[in-house]
Subunit: 336 residues, 2 copies
């Protein structure tokens, strides 16, 4: 039976992947119940506040099942949140073994394994845990690294400029690229910009109706931003000298600590060049999304403002390239 | 029968595509002979100096065929070059109709249609001619525009630099990207650089054994390049004040006229930034191959040195994106 653990856990991961961003800030979780080598029930966590995967699978169980095995992609929770603790639902007269992929990194939800063992139910853990962590990178980054998952996004000309010398950047990329950015925003908890970008672009930073709007976060050390800017309609988080110091590189860590405290699991860093440079330089980022448009400017504002050598490594791994008509987007992940 | 012309011409085009760059400077040509709706023979032009497609197809014909139709992607030649004129091989007792896709733009080879009509053979022309021209873009550009087909190639950092401020550019891109450049070079008749690139990089500009080496062409107005540079081992074409004037933009046209006179059908413009800028700015280019590596320099030599606005159109159409490990290459074509 144990030889089949990987097989069934992969099916449970497939189940977890059916969820979309409605589950945030919860992780995506899938659950399978298997009896005599056959899947008799399955479920996934669909939306924040809704039934957990384990509950869905248990609710879907046929009558009179005993000695079954539960496969679950994340350690069942031991705390009462929006729903009852999942461990209370696991009945030893039905389930006699629980196979778990990743342990729950969230201290307020973990402890599930011990509670299950106390019920005299067998537990097998860490089955396909690399795979199951991948579907919840933001959740694991937030709890394990105690900072949000960081995506840097920029729109550039082919010669690397994010704006004309006068600061004008509307519109470097085409409609299709911008739609993709709106979708990206709808998948992030927060969106961060510097105060120059707030003043020059006066952006709304929303998802344009594609989905959920991220919380705007503005770096404004001197608290000088005018309340008439569009961004103030969105109840932004303003980060000022109250918590920031005058060293931008130190501030990256201070900002991330603040966002962690505010339960922000993912942040999209949208600019401008100095803000992006500080994040790139500090190494505090997980993904880099660069949108290029078929234009040359010859001069303008740069995406990166520290002088480096060709020999300096960037630790970037190319994950994906997409065409948006004659624009394209590359996604790099940072290698740790 | 005529309704099938497109069908059989597409098969002839497929046949033509079997050729590789061994045919240069000749075009790729495919030929089919059809009798009663069935292909009875086919052939393609394999290498420069070798049998033409028509001759291969005729040589492959079974005995005793009469009243057959020949489909050929390019007007059969009327001149004696490396081989006998193709029109002499077309026997009206075997072939009673010839269907031609594109007319031959090469004045020294054209005239085939009239010669065929004089034999009392029916002729249908311009069947799928857009498709058949596409497989010989360099050949048609050379003869119709009276200049080589121009490919601009550059290797850049993500922030758009082609070298550090001191001119050092070795190596921005990775081994796999450079191999792809060697292959690109092996497919071009000539490779053009400015004299600064010749001095700073001292490149060999060859295909590194991938295939044929292109002829190096160096812009050296003042004739000041030292003969000890690697490039002089390759018998380069040096373009100096003997033909160039002191306006770089005028020189683009002068250079292209010179290359046309020298029967160069394709030229790869490899840099540096000023040479590339003049070609981009003049609009004299057909393809743009940009190789990007996952690095940021923050400062350095730019690919483009004229100041433009975001609103300026570049007329570039994205054709292809390829990943080379963590580098990537984009190919744009210029829209006319």
């Amino acid at each position: 039976m144990k030889n089949n653990d990987k097989y069934f856990m992969k099916l449970a991961i497939k189940e977890a992947k059916k969820a979309n961003n409605e589950v945030f800030p919860n992780p995506k979780v899938g659950c399978l119940i298997v009896k005599d080598g056959k899947v008799v029930s399955k479920g996934f966590h669909k939306r924040f506040g809704g039934r957990h995967a384990e509950q869905v699978a248990i609710d879907n169980l046929p009558q009179n099942i005993t000695n079954a095995t539960m496969y679950v992609t994340l350690e069942p929770c031991a705390h009462k949140g929006k729903t009852a603790p999942c461990i209370d639902l696991i009945n030893p007269s039905i389930i006699n073994r629980v196979v778990i992929s990743s342990l729950d990194p969230n201290p307020s939800a973990s402890g599930g394994i011990n509670a299950i063992l106390n019920k005299k139910i067998l537990v097998t853990k860490n089955v396909c845990s690399i795979k199951s962590k991948k579907i919840n990178q933001r959740f694991f980054t937030y709890h394990e690294k105690k900072r949000p998952y960081i995506i840097i996004k920029a729109a550039l000309t082919l010669d690397g400029f994010i704006a004309e010398s006068n600061g004008v950047s509307k519109w470097i990329t085409n409609e299709k690229s911008r739609q993709s950015v709106h979708f990206l925003r709808s998948n992030c908890d927060a969106i961060l910009i510097g105060n120059k970008t707030a003043i020059i672009d006066n952006p709304s930073l929303d998802s344009h109706g594609t989905g959920k709007d991220p919380i705007p976060v503005i770096i404004d050390r001197s608290k000088s931003l005018k309340k008439s800017l569009k961004i103030f309609k969105k109840n932004p988080i303003i980060l000022s000298r109250d918590i920031l110091n005058n060293k931008p590189m130190d501030n990256v860590k201070i900002i991330l600590d603040e966002l962690y405290k505010r339960n922000i699991q993912s942040v999209l860093v949208e600019g401008g060049g100095f803000t992006i440079t500080h994040f790139l330089d500090s190494g505090f980022f997980d993904e880099l999304h660069l949108y290029y448009a078929p234009k040359f400017l010859g001069s303008g504002l740069s995406i990166f403002n520290t002088i480096k050598s060709i020999k300096d490594s960037s630790n970037l791994v190319l994950k994906k390239v997409d065409k948006f008509n004659s624009d394209f987007r590359v996604i790099y992940k940072r290698k740790y």
